[in-house]
């Protein structure tokens, strides 16, 4: 699971917690977008010499 680090300056604590809710949704959406972009790049034919 993806995590984030939270430093609470008032409490003087540092904790690492798993992403949840909207942050987890944004993380998964970004991963899906990166996968789609990588797939599109693979499917784009490289220009032949002289083009």
């Amino acid at each position: 699971m993806p995590t984030k680090i939270i430093v609470d300056l008032a409490a003087g604590t540092t904790t690492e917690v798993e992403l949840e809710g909207a942050e987890l949704e944004a993380y998964n959406a970004s991963l899906a977008q990166q996968a789609a972009e990588a797939q599109a790049a693979q499917e784009t034919p490289a220009p032949t010499e002289g083009e």
Binding site: P2, T3, K4, I5, I6, V7, D8, L9, A10, A11, G12, T14, E16, L19, A26, Y27, S30, L31, Q34
Partner: protein, 194 residues
Amino acid sequence: MTAIINASTSSGLITTADTSGTLALQSNGTTQFTVSSTGAYGQLKQGTAVASTSGTSIDFTSLPSWVKRITVMFSGVSTNGSSNLQVQIGSGSVTTSGYVGGYSRGTMASSATSGLVVQATPAAASLYFGSIVFTNITSNTWVGSGNTITNASDAATLSNCSLALGGTLDRIRITTVNGTDTFDAGSINIMYEG
């Protein structure tokens, strides 16, 4: 009400007592330093350095309401990818859009709306060094500027931005633009003052 210790140029030391729990140190009637239940105005505070070796973001929260300037320091910081490293600020939650500004690195330049870019197009193996500063210009509007470089002897990343928050700044986040790259080296700390 505020309890006051005033160094007067005409009367010497003047003290005014009350039960507010707030103390103002004054020079000739002008408050230079205030101590209250929520913190002290006019001093520089340093956080504890955090190892940036895991997680997709690092949040510094519960910044005091009196803060007017925040410095974020990066020493040997790295992620496992090549997404731009950025700093975001927030009030109640982190603001992820609406930043006006951009960055440059060598001959490359670009606008950036999701935060203040700390390091542009980094290599996964690179380590970042430098600092960025957010300064309160008025009300809840903040101006950020950064200057960092990597250990790869390449061009520095220079960045600037402005953002008007909807309320009092209380947090600052260090993350990547794609939000999925994970920190894997170095340390990050902040200093804040008001």
